[in-house]
């Protein structure tokens, strides 16, 4: 069932692949997708390296219900997926959602809500935020406690959990009103956090967020005042390794 008022902006990242496959499994597809295509050959933040497909099979042994949206094919390019699903899409050769062509495209679309799944490390600028569209983003961390970057590694170190929270983006990073949030236990294979479990947790929260919208006919907020918490920065590799290797 295409959602007539919901579109998506997507770089071809593990997260976008997880989102589209989860939305498909739950029969709640976006009406239209703007694909941001990396014009260079470099691997961008959020894109798994080519070698990543080697570890995919390990996931089939992970049967925890809470991680069900982590069972996605991270090797399938989103253009292939969009064609298979019959979703209309346009490709714009940029890695930056703030690119003028992207802004023009969003402005001209009828959908009022865009699921945001661009490349990592990019912040939405004033031009795009002033379009009178809503940008639905799922942050990889439990808000408002864990704002910023790589927060799931920090929460694993602090409390042995991961998290994901859906928000509408505003000018403050990770400070938009919280629609839905969920905590997850640490996954069986913590080597796959970057490209599988982080994406899987976000996909599960995205599905729940959109299903609630369909159910209630409006966006209900779990926490309108997304205040307080700590802002985290990219975790140092030594701490990342401790989070992955931790036995307790």
């Amino acid at each position: 069932m295409p959602l007539t008022d919901i579109a998506m902006v997507a770089g071809d990242t593990s997260r976008s692949r997880a989102y589209l496959q989860a939305l498909d499994r739950n029969n709640i597809l976006p009406n239209f997708v703007i694909v941001l295509e990396n014009p260079s050959q470099e691997v961008l933040p959020g894109q798994a390296p080519d070698t990543f497909s080697n570890v995919l099979n390990e996931l089939t042994n992970d049967v925890e219900e809470c991680w069900k949206e982590s069972y996605f094919d991270a090797t399938k390019p989103i253009k292939v997926l969009l064609n298979e699903l019959g979703i209309n899409f346009v490709v714009i050769a940029t890695k930056d959602i703030n690119n003028i062509d992207v802004i023009d495209c969003i402005r001209e679309r009828n959908e009022s809500v865009f699921i945001y799944s661009g490349f990592g490390g990019v912040i939405l600028g004033k031009s795009i935020l002033s379009l009178k569209k809503k940008f639905l983003h799922v942050h990889g961390g439990y808000l408002p406690d864990f704002k910023g970057s790589t927060t799931n590694y920090y929460s694993l170190l602090v409390e042995n959990t991961m998290g994901a929270s859906s928000i509408f983006l505003n000018e403050e990073i990770d400070c938009g009103p919280i629609i839905f949030r969920e905590k997850f236990p640490e996954p069986n294979n913590k080597l796959n956090i970057d490209y599988m479990y982080d994406s899987g947790a976000r996909a599960k929260v995205l599905v729940k967020t959109i299903n609630d919208f369909i159910k209630f006919g409006t966006w209900k907020f779990e926490l309108s005042d997304n205040l307080g918490g700590e802002t985290y920065y990219i975790i140092h590799p030594v701490l990342k390794h401790i989070a992955i290797l931790a036995k307790k």
């Binding site: 933040p45 990592g120 490390g121 920090y154 170190l157 602090v158 080597l191 970057d194 700590e230 802002t231 985290y232 920065y233 990219i234 975790i235 140092h236 590799p237 030594v238 701490l239 990342k240 390794h241 401790i242 989070a243 992955i244 290797l245 931790a246 036995k247 307790k248």
Partner: protein, 249 residues
């Protein structure tokens, strides 16, 4: 394996730490080995001179001893003993406190976001406040601003223009990177908030990537060893808590 994060000059070529690969326990061992090499190089160095920050270092030393000397962990005890040695070496006779510390006392309330801020004065003020009050919200806000500036730009400027966004002056003053590392050590020891340990690791990667002569000219004797030992022991204790043990030597 070699520890790549401090292998090349990180003032000239900063590392962004995005999506760093997983190397298993080897990474932790290479990290420890790399830090221990630098510590060993500087622990008994006679060449380091006392400088304008020696008095501050002397004033702050007790806070570094607290968590380590009383800890039952073997590593903590050893590092505690090492710190005691350093304390003995940094003696009052070498430091003219009146000239150095008192002359630099700045009330944090006199530092305003609407005005230009001297980074050195701010760090002196913060380190002293955290010595006695880690819950001071105004001081934590200022520390967070400094951490944000370093994390985003990987630079610390001599001063910041009103609003504390745009840096002004030199951004290669090694002393300021060390002073921030020292302040983060105190804050982490008192608060145990891991985000500050992450920034401390990055600052120490940068310091360890610099030449011996640059470090000697800009950091007071034992100042570098102190922040490295504090960081390394904090990592050891965290690893132990999480059920991981590693040793490179």
């Amino acid at each position: 394996m070699s520890y790549i994060y401090s292998k090349i000059n990180r003032l000239e070529k900063p590392h962004n730490y995005m999506y760093t690969p997983y190397y298993g326990a080897d990474l932790l061992e290479s990290y420890e080995s790399s830090r221990v090499q630098v510590i060993n190089r500087f622990i008994d160095s006679r060449n380091l001179s006392f400088n304008e920050d020696s008095a501050l270092l002397h004033e702050l030393l007790p806070v570094f001893l607290e968590p380590f000397s009383s800890n039952l962990n073997v590593y903590a005890k050893n590092f505690g003993l090492l710190l005691q040695k350093i304390r003995i070496k940094v003696t009052d006779k070498n430091i003219n406190k009146t000239d150095n510390v008192k002359g630099k006392k700045v009330n944090l309330n006199d530092i305003k976001i609407t005005e230009s801020v001297s980074t050195s004065k701010l760090l002196y003020s913060l380190s002293r406040i955290f010595l006695v009050d880690v819950h001071n919200l105004n001081a934590k806000s200022w520390l967070d601003r400094l951490v944000q500036r370093f994390e985003v730009t990987k630079k610390i400027y001599e001063s910041y223009l009103p609003g504390f966004r745009q840096g002004k002056g030199c951004n290669e003053l090694i002393r300021l990177y060390w002073l921030l590392a020292l302040t983060l050590c105190i804050f982490y020891l008192r608060s145990k908030e891991i985000k500050y340990l992450s920034t401390l690791l990055k600052l120490n990667d940068l310091l360890c990537s610099l030449s011996e002569s640059d470090l000697k000219d800009n950091i007071p004797q034992h100042g570098l060893v102190l922040v490295l030992i504090t960081e390394l022991l904090s990592i050891k204790l965290l690893s132990n808590r999480k059920g991981i043990s590693f040793a490179s030597y």
